[in-house]
């Protein structure tokens, strides 16, 4: 009887737990299935969202709030990561070409978007938002291009730098359109409020936030969880600050990414965590929530497909015109212009953000969102195909690596290097968006360093802006430095004042105890590295962190 009662009390799963189960099953299987088909994983997530959504099998109903709300957080995260991953050093180095290309790359597709909107009789806000949507782009194929050794090619670097400009402008357009559509009061007051808000956001992003986050990381950064949370708090603070001025939170999130760009190096451990949580949870949830809007009865209509065709023509054509206009100005070859084109046609992060916000504020209808999904799919597939052509045909560019792209500290102390050395490594790496790693060496006779001791070292040095990996090896200084020449280190800091071996192409920085008022450093390298490196190092260290490295002012080339 009891067994029968129990049997009857068993119920079909329902509620939030089932929704999460369905959601994460799609996050797991969507990319796997689509990658096997040779299609981008993100398309799998969008299609998965459709399948479980109200237009599919309806496991996540139209009135569901959980997934869209989580998706909003994912959208903030996506835009934050987009800002964080941009290479600001490249923008600085190629500012003229990047600025010009960024401007043309924004104006041409934006103008084409305006034309389409006017021809179709859309309202002005919708028309402007369409222009913004088409003018932005996402560097989806950049890893493929960079891994092929083309990252230092001036045309490629200019296209990468231009992304900062085009995406910022697209988001400014979004901020103004969304603000005027959702704000109450006079249009001029709203515009004034938004202009003020953008000025405040830029000031905070450029001046205040990096300093505050740096201080917070130095205060609480010894704990990796706290580091991550500090970064998330910074992201949400900027999003909330944007909303204070009636600007969409994603604009604040993007600025937060730009603000923390140098504090969170692309190849550092913090970025690894940000990418991990982004890739595992936040961004997939956002893409699935977009899929919930996908409606085949709307998408596969002549109206929507026609709209998608217009958008594809404007976005891909506009970026093509921009490349072919900007390329000759800087002497880029046809193949290099193709490289620029490949980098700037994929529409993903900012495009999705603009279209979703446009949808939420009622400026875009379902047909526009569905057409945008077609545009995204087409642009990513076209870019992936063309990227292979570029990689095969454009010769690798062997440009000089930035000094601070990967700094390796080598020490023989089992308790790690002094704090000042770690801080120096951070200050040298940060301007290039690089990171530092630590190698603790020991001899065969020394006992292995216990993991608890290593964690203690890591905890201490994390408070000095260190954002890399700590490892140990049985080696001498000479071996360790010599081996680092074969890896991708851009600068080696040796925590041994007497070190004097000539290593090779990568400069070695040796910190010495100063006898007088000033500590000194030596740079050892072969003929390719000269006084300019010493000047560069001195420039990066001078005026910073006087309390940490009080007297490091003088340097010389050792060999």
């Amino acid at each position: 009887m009891t067994a029968m009662t129990m049997l009857f009390s068993i119920q079909a799963p329902s509620g939030t737990v089932l929704e999460f189960l369905v959601l994460f099953t799609v996050i797991l299987l969507g990319p796997v299935v689509f990658n096997r088909l040779g299609l981008p994983g993100l398309i799998g997530l969008v299609i998965g969202g459709f399948l479980i959504g109200p237009h599919g099998v309806d496991l996540i109903g139209a009135g569901n709030q959980t997934v869209p709300e989580l998706g909003k957080l994912g959208l903030l995260y996506l835009m934050f990561v987009a800002g964080l991953e941009l290479d600001l050093r490249v923008l600085q180095e190629y500012r003229r070409a990047a600025g010009t290309f960024g401007l043309i790359g924004f104006v041409v597709p934006f103008s084409l978007g305006l034309c389409i909107g006017f021809v179709l009789g859309w309202s002005l806000p919708a028309t402007c938002l369409l222009g913004a949507l088409l003018s932005s782009h996402t560097l989806i194929v950049y890893p493929t291009i960079r891994d092929a050794g083309l990252g230092q090619n001036p045309a490629i670097a200019s296209a990468v730098g231009a992304t900062v400009l085009t995406d910022t402008l697209a988001l400014i357009v979004l901020a103004v359109v969304a603000g005027t559509q959702t704000g109450s009061g006079s249009v001029y007051l709203i515009l004034l409020e938004i202009a003020l808000g953008l000025a405040v956001l830029m000031f905070v992003a450029l001046a205040a936030l990096p300093r505050v986050v740096d201080l917070a990381l130095r205060r609480w950064g010894s704990d990796r969880v706290a580091r991550y949370v500090v970064i998330i708090v910074a992201l949400l603070s900027m999003a909330a600050l944007a909303e204070v001025f009636e600007i969409e939170g994603i604009v604040g999130a993007f600025f937060a990414g730009l603000a923390l760009n140098r504090l969170v190096p692309n190849e550092g451990a913090s970025m690894e965590r940000i990418e991990f949580f982004g890739a595992a949870v936040f961004i997939p949830v956002f893409l699935v929530s977009i899929g919930l809007l996908l409606d085949p009865s709307v998408m596969f209509t002549g109206h929507t497909l026609g709209l998608a065709a217009l958008m594809i023509a404007a976005a891909l054509g506009g970026k093509g015109v921009a490349c072919w206009l900007a390329g000759p100005l800087f002497g880029f070859s046809g193949l290099e212009r193709l490289g620029m084109y490949v980098l700037t046609i994929p529409q993903a992060a900012a495009t999705l953000a603009v279209s979703l916000i446009g949808f939420e504020i009622g400026v875009f209808g379902t047909s526009v969102v569905n057409a945008v999904l077609v545009l995204i799919l087409f642009s990513i597939l076209a870019a992936a195909f063309l990227a292979q052509q570029v990689v095969e045909r454009l010769p690798a560019h062997d440009g000089a690596r930035p000094l601070g792209s990967r700094v390796l500290i080598v020490t023989s102390s089992p308790t790690g290097p002094p704090d000042a050395t770690v801080r120096i490594a951070t200050l040298l790496a940060r301007p290039d968006g690089g990171h530092s790693d630590l190698l603790i060496i020991r001899s065969h006779a020394d006992p292995p360093i216990e993991s608890m001791a290593l964690k203690a070292v890591e905890k201490r040095i994390l408070r000095h802006g260190f954002d890399g990996r700590v490892r140990t090896a049985v080696a001498t200084f000479d071996d360790a430095v010599s081996e680092s020449m074969h890896t991708d280190a851009s600068l080696v800091i040796v925590d041994e004042p007497t070190f004097a071996t000539v290593p090779g192409r990568v400069p070695v920085l040796v910190l010495e105890d100063g006898a007088g008022e000033e500590d000194v450093f030596r740079v050892i390298a072969d003929g390719e590295v000269d006084e300019r490196v010493v000047e560069e190092i001195r420039g990066r260290l001078t005026g910073s962190d006087r309390w940490t490295i009080p007297r490091l002012r003088r340097g010389r080339v050792g060999v």
Binding site: Q11, S14, G15, D58, G61, A62, G63, R95, G99, T100, G102, L103, F106, V107, F110, L114, G117, L120, G121, W122, S123, L124, P125, A126, T127, C128, L129, L130, G131, L165, T168, L169, I172, V173, V176, V177, T180, Q181, T182, G183, S184, V187, I190, L191, A195, V298, H303, L307, G358, F359, E360, I361, G362, V363, F364, G365, T366, S367, V368, A371
Partner: protein, 266 residues
């Protein structure tokens, strides 16, 4: 930097125009059944908080109809009345849309197209003023009245599981009569409807709380209507620009988020 400034000026110039532009959505155009007029059908007139006055020009849904007409550039709103059972069977009497505190369900979607919800509508407990209950055990002990056509009746039976069989009525109007007469303690309604009734009869009713579940109240359009996309966009736009929030505070008194949630077994 110069390029950035130039591009910003260009963008802002275009946006200055955009800001002065209309509020229509892209991708669709509203086609009214009667030229220059938004024709709306509803079942309950008067419906406290939703359709008030004679003619019914006041209330949440009346205000929403006005806002929609303004957004579509229509000068007039014409209100028709049809029985609730006809509306949910797709008989809108030639109206462009129905605004009648409708909850979208799969069964109803066979006859009408629903828009995105304009109000979240979890189940709300409308009770006589002297009735109190703080948890699900208190709710079980109440004498309930239910309407045969309500989508909330199964929720009451599944999640609260009253100790005594509820009084069954044909529709909401009859259920309210039973409650007013004191022959039952409580009635489960869409929370915005419960809030509006409590606001209009504060000497009789109050809202005990809400339970989780439910979807929302949405407009219904004739099945296959070309206007669905633009009405959908307009409702999202009115939500985003605060119009619906203002109508809620004015006509329903409280936001649904201000009503305490009573946890149930599921």
């Amino acid at each position: 930097m110069k390029a950035f400034a130039l591009a910003t000026m260009l963008a802002v110039g275009a946006l200055g125009l955009a800001a002065c532009g209309g509020q229509g959505a892209a991708g669709a155009k509203f086609e009214p059944a009667n030229p220059g007029t938004l024709t709306v059908v509803t079942a309950f007139v008067p419906a406290p908080g939703f359709w008030e006055g004679r003619p019914p020009t006041k209330g949440f849904e009346a205000g929403l109809a006005d806002a929609l007409a303004h957004r579509f550039g229509l000068k007039r709103v014409l209100v028709l009345q049809q029985p609730f059972a006809s509306i949910i069977r797709g008989k809108l009497g030639g109206a462009d849309l129905a605004l009648s505190q409708l909850t979208p369900t799969k069964a109803r979607e066979q006859y009408v197209d629903f828009t995105t919800p304009y109000l979240t509508a979890p189940p709300g407990i409308l009770a006589r003023l002297d009735v109190r209950a703080r948890d699900v055990h208190g709710l079980k002990a109440l004498h309930w009245v239910v309407s045969r056509t309500s989508t909330l009746t199964p929720i009451l039976m599944d999640t609260i599981r009253p100790d005594a069989d509820p009084v069954e009525t044909v529709d909401r109007t009859q259920a309210l009569k039973v409650l007013r007469a004191g022959r039952a303690d409580a009635l489960l309604l869409d929370l915005p409807v419960a809030l509006a009734l409590a606001r209009s009869e504060p000497e009789r009713f109050h809202v005990l709380g809400q339970i989780s579940g439910g979807e929302g109240l949405a407009a219904a359009l004739p099945k296959g209507s070309h206007n669905r996309e633009i009405v959908d966009s307009a409702i999202r736009g009115l939500t985003a620009n605060g119009t619906i929030g203002k109508l809620t505070s004015r006509w329903l008194g409280k936001s649904t988020g201000d009503v305490p949630l009573i946890l149930t077994e599921r």
